[in-house]
Symmetry: C2
Subunit: 156 residues, 2 copies
DNA sequence: TTGCTCAGTGTAACATTATACCAATACAAA
DNA sequence: TTTGTATTGGTATAATGTTACACTGAGCAA
């Protein structure tokens, strides 16, 4: 922990706004957005797409040379629980959520196998359809994983 | 490869029927259901639920002491491609599909976090909903992952 | 302030899941 | 048979994820 947080900022400030949202959300819930968690948050926010835990760890190490796997997984756990970040199960990667506030919303992802782009889409209908289907089986959903692989608009 | 295949059979014969279906499907497609692939198929068919690759490997080793991780992963790859088996991404496990014939059908799973039971459900509506949502984003789906976690009927 | 408590962290080791590589072999087509 | 391709054997290693335990440091009550 030698490098100041300011060193992680850049000319682009959209991620700073995201961070502010996150800080506010944490304050409301009494969750502690510690330095490491904030660093990982910013690394994810600055990323365009998804990133693996160990790639993220490599980046974090530039800010905190002592970082270890547990460091990054703890931070990712925390950020996931707050709903700031989603894990993509089918590619073992993580991606910043740009719709948080609603901390436990259903997640639907379109993953381009060509360029790696990941789009998070929003559909309550879809969520409802899944739930009603589960209901019909007497099943109660606590968490859903919806990940569609294929080709994005740009890669047709 | 010392133990004869017949040693894998038991009093229950439902999996034998499944195997016959699989053999037929492979013949149609010119796919080779080799001895190892068949052994893995039967191990999965006899299982009630999902199983991890290394657990399956342990079972396979009783039939073929020389089996290695690559052995099981190759077999699982093959069986997945034929649509006989589905990988459950969110728990790194594999489960026999009981609806094959339609080799690349959409898969929707209900996974009980309490008892581990996995139910494969069928919904073309659901598939259509996902595809139309993807269409709206100019995205073409080649493979979809839908895994709902929660509690099954028996574990409410 | 002092001491208590507990979430969070540092650190190392470990566990699990999956693939790369290359040689050997089996199979099918020519 | 020859030739090309799919499959397998065998070793090692990559990639991903978890646990255990001691320690720190912020928040809080006395
Ligand atoms: Zn989201
Ligand atoms: Zn693309
Ligand atoms: Zn199926
Ligand atoms: Zn259950």
């Amino acid at each position: 922990m030698t490098t100041p947080l300011s060193a992680t900022s850049s000319h682009d400030s959209s991620h700073v706004k995201l961070l502010a949202q996150a800080q506010q959300a944490c304050q409301k819930k009494g969750a502690r957005l510690t330095k490491t968690r904030e660093q990982v948050f910013l690394l994810l926010a600055k990323r365009k797409g998804a990133v693996g835990a160990y790639d993220l760890l490599a980046e974090l190490k530039e800010l905190d040379a002592a970082a270890k796997p547990a460091t990054i997984y703890r931070a990712l756990d925390f950020l996931s629980k707050q709903g700031f970040v989603h894990k993509i199960e089918s590619i073992n990667a993580f991606i910043m959520c740009h719709h948080f506030g609603d901390c436990n919303h259903p997640v639907q992802l379109l993953i381009c196998d060509e360029c790696g782009h990941v789009e998070e889409i929003q559909s309550n209908n879809f969520d409802l359809a899944l739930r009603s289907m589960a209901d019909a089986n007497g099943f109660t959903i606590s968490h859903q994983i919806v990940e569609a692989h294929g080709h994005c608009k740009a890669c047709q």
